[in-house]
Symmetry: C2
Amino acid sequence: MMSKQGILTVVSGFSGAGKGTLMKALLNRYDYGLSISATTRVPRVGEEDGLEYFFLTRERFESMIEQGELIEWAEYVGNYYGTPKKYVEEQLAAGKDVILEIEVQGAFHIREQFPDALLLFITPPNAIELRNRLVHRGTESMDKIEKRLNRASEEAVFMKQYDYIVVNDDLDECVEHLNEIIKSEHSRTLRNDSFIEKMSNELNVFKKGD
Amino acid sequence: MMSKQGILTVVSGFSGAGKGTLMKALLNRYDYGLSISATTRVPRVGEEDGLEYFFLTRERFESMIEQGELIEWAEYVGNYYGTPKKYVEEQLAAGKDVILEIEVQGAFHIREQFPDALLLFITPPNAIELRNRLVHRGTESMDKIEKRLNRASEEAVFMKQYDYIVVNDDLDECVEHLNEIIKSEHSRTLRNDSFIEKMSNELNVFKKGD
């Protein structure tokens, strides 16, 4: 890797695109810093505090907002979601890539504060597949599934503002692909100003020395 | 891969950065379309016509220029170098990624004709290493090596106009990295307008149907 600063990667995507499963697999397989989000929503069966989310009361969450301790926060389907700031900044400064899974509205707030953030949007290969996945997940009523599909239709408008559109067709391939995208981004010219300057200066010294 | 159209990748870099060796390894290991350049320079020992280059007379080369059969051509250290157009366009249309190894001046001519071309710049990790590689190659006089280093100093100015700066430190890692960058680029949002439109339309149909 060339650039010393870690890359902040923001992962969004349609509800049902498989973001959660992808993130778990990616973080198991590779050495990323994960920023665990805070939320006021009720844990699903099997979810643990400090693992999937920090599950907070509304009072505690609102206090963090007031203290400026969150990079971003949003209210979504009646609950707060947010990202504690301190951990993310420390990781990036230490050269570690950090991945955040964030709803669409939150992603653009992150980009305002971290202009070099890399925004990835996860999508199933088509809309039928999205509906099938929501239905087969089996944790939601048909009414909620319809709401999520309507929401997806609204979110699709924002896909163009992401840097990459990543199709999650095969979990394993998608995890590899996400990792490749982030690795590749380290070599992007815009992230390597200081290397270019160093190399140019060294070559100029040779020229003068000849 | 998401986008159906192949990506035209243009690889440039300092003389001595190891472009030739990298290209050979990349094309051996992965399924890329290689566009073989035409040149009027004399073959080096071991080089075969139709493999490293098409070795042409000046008369034949100038006839191809006149007929518009070259995407780009340039004169460099007294010889013509150029890229036959037809083969490249056929490969891209068939969804195949094509890689061109082109001098700096030629790379920007390609971008004018193929705005979606991906421009990669190969560099050793530092200038000392560049000089060492030129010296150890042993095929050039010290005078020619100095000329190449002066040339590198001039070319460094153009690094910022490339999309990626790829450090060739370890051959094997660099080959993998080049392949990852090209694979990743297929998911870049700007290359997936038609997918985004299709997905948006499908989701809108669901919305109306509900």
